[in-house]
Assembly symmetry: C2
Homo-oligomer: 249 residues x 2
DNA sequence: CGAAGGCTTGACCGCTATCAAAGCACGTGG
DNA sequence: CCACGTGCTTTGATAGCGGTCAAGCCTTCG
């Protein structure tokens, strides 16, 4: 899975922004393919299946997950419009993929994709860059799952789901959450109850404001960053945030 | 004195034996480079540094880690002889790397590496394969950190550290653990106390047998697989089981 | 309007973290 | 060779975060 948008890596966002108009970019390959429709809940492929295709999400959202022995589910990522699934695959899918909401995708044969990349050197940097972004996201997720508290996880998650145009950041940005609480829980390594309680707590503190079941408004961006456990590197010149005293319980 | 790591030495010899005859493999690139020595505890590079080099571990072990805000450390991986650090890097290192024991490495400029890969198409499948393996390992780690109990984590870890020649598996394989308990804890998302207690419990059950501070003998491989939470799920009591199909990727 | 599924809230419990101290291995120097 | 110090590991006691179980509420849809 690949997420084109990651607010934690501004350098990369910049390069992604350049991809749209570029004629020789990965998305251009998909543009010729017909658009397919998947209803909410429908499965694109299962973990372990032979990896015949790559997919580009045109519109909508996917969840990427693994199931272990006694039914426990781990969501390793969410994909949205512009993301491409399957660049990091060899012979078999490493995970299953389902549509969260009604979703339109384009599909590309893996064999043809490899041929295109082999014959078209300009594509290789982008393939490589997407793999690296995917790797960086996986490592951030390991940090989250390994050492962050429930509150830090939820705050990190909300920040990651924010629209990432710089102008949109800061106060009153509305974050869309198409997935269910169970999806969020399985992504953050928590239970639905803990996700729910943490959201409530953030709302009570006035940091976020619930806007329907599948969206929240960010009221205090700076506090959210603080509580996410990510933003406190000393000597780093990111002047936009005024840090008040963090209350650690 | 640093322990003579027989197992890791074997590991290196084996992989070299397999890859050695291959003229166009990644390790062949490194072979021309001089061998450097890093003492136990020494740092190869820091997270955030400009990524000037890739490294091949010739002999010894490295830990790869990130530090977050208030000093919490997350070890995202251990590397041993034959492994290559930095294939998934763009401009900056995503993590820091330190030698766990006295370690010999070879270094290769990233620029030269990219040039070699660009000019030598036979290398690309191996680069790609290593990236995919790294990605698969990261996903398995996410599953571990997200949903596994302390016992499952430790069992999974021990299995992963086992020498992987099929003949060596099963009873009485000795697993070398050059890293400290703190390293293991920071890798598994636990504390040293929990790691220690879990090891003791496994020893009391007769599943493993401590062999000095930095090694354990695997006494009941099948049970270890069962307890790792990865293999098939058996509700009934089957005791020691055959381990067919335990690892599939 | 009622059923169903998702979400929130509450009570309680257990796993693992935390705090603390004792045990061990190993190197150093007398 | 032994005494001693240091750092790592083990073991024990306690506490707290988040999981589990159980209602109750809200939204959607037939």
């Amino acid at each position: 899975m690949l997420q084109a948008n990651n607010i934690h890596h501004l350098r990369e966002v910049t390069s992604v922004a350049l991809l749209g108009p570029e004629p020789n970019c990965l998305q251009a390959l998909f543009r010729k393919q017909p658009v397919e429709h998947f209803a909410a809940g429908q499965t694109l492929f299962f973990e372990g299946d032979i990896a015949k295709h790559l997919f580009e999400v045109v519109e909508g959202s996917l969840r990427i997950f693994k199931i272990i022995s006694d039914g426990r589910r781990v969501i390793t990522g969410f994909l949205h419009g512009g993301d491409i699934v399957g660049v990091s695959l060899k012979s078999h899918y490493l995970y299953s993929a389902e549509a969260i909401v009604d979703t339109r995708i384009r599909r590309f044969s893996r064999k043809a994709f490899e041929a295109e990349v082999a014959s078209c050197p300009e594509l290789r940097p982008e393939v490589f860059a997407r793999l690296c972004d995917e790797m960086a996201a996986a490592q951030d997720q390991m940090v989250l799952l390994s050492r962050k508290s429930a509150e830090e996880r939820v705050c990190t998650f909300l920040l990651k789901q924010m629209p990432c145009e710089p102008g949109e950041r800061g106060y009153n940005a509305v974050v869309d959450l198409p997935m269910t609480r169970l999806d969020i829980a399985d992504y953050l390594g928590l239970t639905i109850e803990t996700v729910s309680r943490t959201m409530t707590k953030l709302a009570q503190k006035g940091i976020v404001c619930p806007a329907g079941r599948h969206a929240v408004r960010i009221m205090k961006y700076g506090l959210l960053v603080q509580l996410s456990g990510d933003g406190e590197y000393f000597g780093d010149e990111r002047g936009q945030i005024a840090y008040a005293g963090a209350n650690r319980h």
